[in-house]
């Protein structure tokens, strides 16, 4: 299934004549957008990690107050559609921004590499945060304690023991963020920065330069593939499961002392910018929203969103768990390849992915064309990678030992998995499902092209209005989307109440 878009792209790209190819592909602009793309990915990774890593450490290892609130608030930006975040950042500083309305203040507009990196980091850092937090919670404190008992300082123990153990979590989060950055174009276009994805979008949307767009998409895929291989190479052959016996202890809590308020200030600043700014701008829009927002339509769009996002999340998890399982338990070229393929589905730019699905459905199963089933399957294939990450990290931590001992007590392999591994996995599976749910809820190009006619989601409503400049009318839907995922994040965290 994952190969369909690739075949489509190759067929389309293959239709280019050689002379034309040299003229359109090998031009300075192509090089420029490629370099811009790499610069953007690099900046987003650095910025997102700089935000997420300290936050994750603070909530798992220190006595910082309001851990749960910080955790929820650090997950919520996931729900903010890219173009809303970008509009908010731009709008904050502008004539219509609240700063001007209340204080007569106009800031310089964020734009270019800086603006795009800022907007993207502000809603992708939760991937890094959640992955690292998950890893820190699952980590055996005995490791660090052993290092300490061997004479290492706390800092040295952290650097030499804990940090390397965070590597798989960081790498898989980085991979997701990098692939996300490669595919995003709404926020980037508003920040007036040219990258491969926006070039593909403008060429594809034109539909007259499909071949060129296909070439650009293949180039983007080559970059994505390079990230996939790199992450795989760095992440392979690591053993993270605990080998000791007995129950693991909870890690020691670092007392922040007088650093406490600095830490709270840092968390507060992150929330203020990543959530406060869009919330303020949305609230401001809401306050100006004309009375004629059609509230009767809202329940239908909520229902529409749920009817796609819930099954897509379930299906994505159903794909992710076995993939992660075979890849960690039976590491081989084949299983490794299968696991990478899920990321591939995520890496294919959304628009070609959607058109390839249209192409495929019409040619092979026309009865299913423009049905919810196809939309759900396409979205699940596109987002399965988001669920693979957390599940894989957890599986690496659990290791095969526990299951093996269950089997030595006479359990069959499936029963051992069901009774031993699955319960330990449930939190990660839920985390993965919620990732997918939130991302699907705000997804656009695929939903727009594959949804049955007449069907709408909240994201479609936000987009169609912001796109037409009806920012005020878009506000209720944007606010609703954030409220919506706030509930899902709270539900996810409730299921692990015994953790910070």
């Amino acid at each position: 299934m994952m190969f369909i878009p690739l075949v489509y792209l190759v067929v389309r790209a293959g239709a280019t004549e050689r002379t034309e190819l040299a003229a359109i592909v090998l031009r300075p602009f192509t090089l420029e957008v490629t370099l811009n793309t790499l610069a953007l990915v690099g900046s987003v990774l650095v910025l997102a990690t700089a935000i997420a890593l300290p936050l994750a450490l603070l909530v798992t290892r220190t006595d910082i107050p309001a851990k749960r609130a910080i955790t929820i608030l650090a997950t919520l930006p996931l729900a903010i559609p890219g173009y809303v975040m970008a509009y908010a950042l731009i709008g904050l500083s502008g004539y219509y921004g609240p700063l001007n309305a209340f204080f007569g203040l106009r800031l310089a507009r964020p734009e270019g590499l800086f603006g795009a990196a800022l907007a993207l980091s502000l809603y992708t850092f939760p991937y890094v945060f959640l992955n690292v937090r998950e890893a820190l919670l699952g980590l055996d404190p005995a490791l660090e304690e052993t290092a300490r008992s061997l004479g290492r300082s706390p800092r040295a123990a952290f650097l030499s023991v804990t940090l390397p153990h965070l590597r798989p979590a960081l790498l898989s989060a980085w991979l997701v963020v990098a692939l996300y950055t490669l595919g995003d174009y709404g926020a980037i276009a508003l920040m007036r920065y040219d990258v491969l994805s926006s070039a593909i979008f403008s060429q594809y949307a034109n539909a007259f330069e499909v071949n060129y767009a296909a070439w650009l998409a293949l180039m983007l895929l080559a970059i994505a593939a390079a990230f996939l291989v790199l992450e795989g190479a760095l992440n392979r052959q690591r053993r993270l499961a605990r080998t000791g016996t007995g129950t693991r202890r909870n890690p020691p809590v670092l007392l922040l002392g007088r650093w406490r308020w600095l830490a709270v200030g840092f968390a507060g600043l992150v929330h203020l910018v990543s959530l406060g700014v869009p919330a303020l701008v949305i609230a401001f829009w809401l306050s100006r929203a004309p009375a004629d927002v059609d509230w009767t339509k809202v329940p239908a769009t909520v229902l529409g969103t749920l009817s796609v996002a819930l099954p897509a999340a379930a299906l994505a998890v159903a794909i992710a768990v076995p993939v992660a399982l075979v890849a960690t338990r039976w590491p081989s070229r084949l299983t490794y390849g299968i696991e990478r393929m899920t990321y591939f589905g995520y890496a294919v730019p959304a628009l070609p992915f959607a058109l390839a699905t249209v192409f495929f459905t019409l040619a092979v199963v026309p009865v299913f064309y423009q049905t919810l089933a196809v939309l759900i399957i396409a979205l699940a294939l596109h987002t399965a990678a988001l669920a693979v990450g957390p599940v894989r990290v957890r599986l690496l931590q659990i290791g095969p030992r526990v299951e093996e001992s269950a089997r030595s007590f006479g359990y069959s392999a499936p029963a051992a998995f069901r009774h031993v591994t699955l319960p330990a996995l449930s939190r990660s599976v839920l985390a993965g499902a919620i990732f997918v749910f939130i991302v699907v809820a705000k997804e656009l190009p695929i939903t727009l092209l594959l949804a049955p006619s007449g069907f709408t989601t909240m994201a479609m409503n936000v987009f169609s209005r912001t796109h037409e400049g009806m920012l005020y009318e878009a506000a209720p839907y944007a606010a609703l989307m954030i409220a919506f995922s706030a509930v899902s994040v709270a539900l996810m965290l409730r299921s692990e109440r015994n953790h910070p």
């Binding site: 359109i24 031009r27 300075p28 602009f29 420029e32 731009i90 709008g91 500083s93 502008g94 004539y95 219509y96 106009r106 507009r109 276009a189 508003l190 007036r192 070039a199 403008s202 060429q203 594809y204 949307a205 034109n206 539909a207 007259f208 330069e209 499909v210 060129y212 100006r288 004309p290 628009l351 058109l355 249209v358 192409f359 019409l362 026309p366 064309y369 423009q370 727009l448 092209l449 949804a451 049955p452 006619s453 007449g454 709408t456 479609m460 409503n461 169609s464 209005r465 796109h467 037409e468 400049g469 009806m470 005020y472 009318e473």
Partner: protein
């Protein structure tokens, strides 16, 4: 009360007729946004009992989709932002009702039987009331490449309406002049934006002093805030920068509901809907007898007198325009 009963009876009737004939349903691919077309579809449903299943997207995306679907397309009607996409896809359409195109005002009349204009739009220049004085306004769109406008102009090369303007420029003044103009903009430090809204916003925010947009964007800003520090104008009479063009619709050839599709087009050209386009959206009506939008005053009230003479059919060669923009690294 009576109205409610009537509405109730009507909706029951609609449900029953919905069961009786599935043909009472239209699938519309709408390149026009939901906020624009949605209310029109709803009233159409109420009046005719024909259910509209709308599929919203950008005109270009839906155009690509229509091509991809070919003969299997479930679409009955394609509603496009800009006639370029209709002309480009004309082989996919059946003939539109002839009587309708004859009711259209001459400047908005399509001589192509395959599609109809549903509303008119004009290219204008928005400018800052705070930073641009009346006597500094450019007389021609070509003036924007002059040194006094260095770094002060915004435009949106990815926008279909800008591309319609550039197509007109190519057709009217030749490839060389068109290319020189765009290159002039680039060399003069003109800023590119994602869409027209972003341009008006940027003028209000003080990023740029002027921008090339369509007339109705400012109307929307004014509707929200009468004090918005932005105004708009045409260039001198006949300037290519004042291009008058249309948004339009076509009936998809493979449609099994051509009769109902024709009804929808007819509805779009009815006085009530045309009045809605003028009053609520700020577009130009394509039929006579509609009260103009109060924000479109002065030269803007009579776009026909200011527009260059470019036949609508000539705006179909968008692909060469896109090639030009691609060559200059703007797409």
């Amino acid at each position: 009360m009576r109205k409610t009963i009537f509405a109730g009876a009507l909706s029951i009737a609609t449900i029953i007729s919905g069961f009786a004939a599935k043909a009472q349903e239209l699938t519309v691919y709408s390149g026009r946004g939901e906020s624009f077309a949605g209310p029109v579809f709803r009233i159409f449903e109420e009046q005719t009992g024909i259910k509209v299943k709308a599929r919203y997207g950008s005109t270009a995306e839906l155009s690509a989709l229509l091509k991809e679907e070919g003969a299997k397309s479930p679409a009955d009607v394609f509603l496009a932002q800009d006639a370029g996409a209709l002309i480009e896809n004309r082989t996919l359409f059946a003939d539109a009702p002839k009587v309708l195109s004859e009711t259209a005002l001459p400047e908005f009349r399509s001589n192509d039987p395959k599609w109809l204009a549903t509303s008119g739009r004009a290219r204008t220049l928005v400018y800052s009331k705070e930073r641009v004085k009346a006597d500094q306004l450019p007389k021609s769109v070509f003036d924007l490449t002059k040194p006094e406008w260095k770094g002060k102009v915004g435009y949106s090369p990815k926008n279909a309406s800008f591309q319609a303007f550039l197509t007109a420029l190519r057709v009217q003044e030749g490839e060389e002049k068109a290319k020189a103009f765009v290159k002039g903009l680039v060399d003069n430090g003109a800023k590119t934006y994602a869409n027209n809204v972003a341009i008006v916003q940027a003028v209000a925010d003080g990023e740029i002093d002027a921008g090339l947009v369509n007339s109705y964007y400012l109307t929307r800003f004014v509707a929200r805030d009468a004090k918005v520090p932005v105004a708009q104008t045409f260039f001198d009479k006949g300037d290519i920068g004042n291009l008058l063009f249309v948004s339009g619709a076509g009936i998809v050839e493979t449609s099994k509901n051509k009769e109902n599709a024709a009804k929808l087009l007819e509805f779009f050209l009815s006085p009530a809907v045309q009045q809605h386009f003028a009053s609520a959206v700020g577009e130009y009506p394509v039929i006579k007898g509609v009260i103009p939008n109060p924000t479109l005053t002065g030269s803007l009230a009579s776009p026909k007198d200011y527009a260059p003479n470019v036949p609508l059919e000539k705006l179909g060669d968008v692909s060469a325009t896109k090639k030009l923009l691609t060559e200059l690294g703007l797409l």
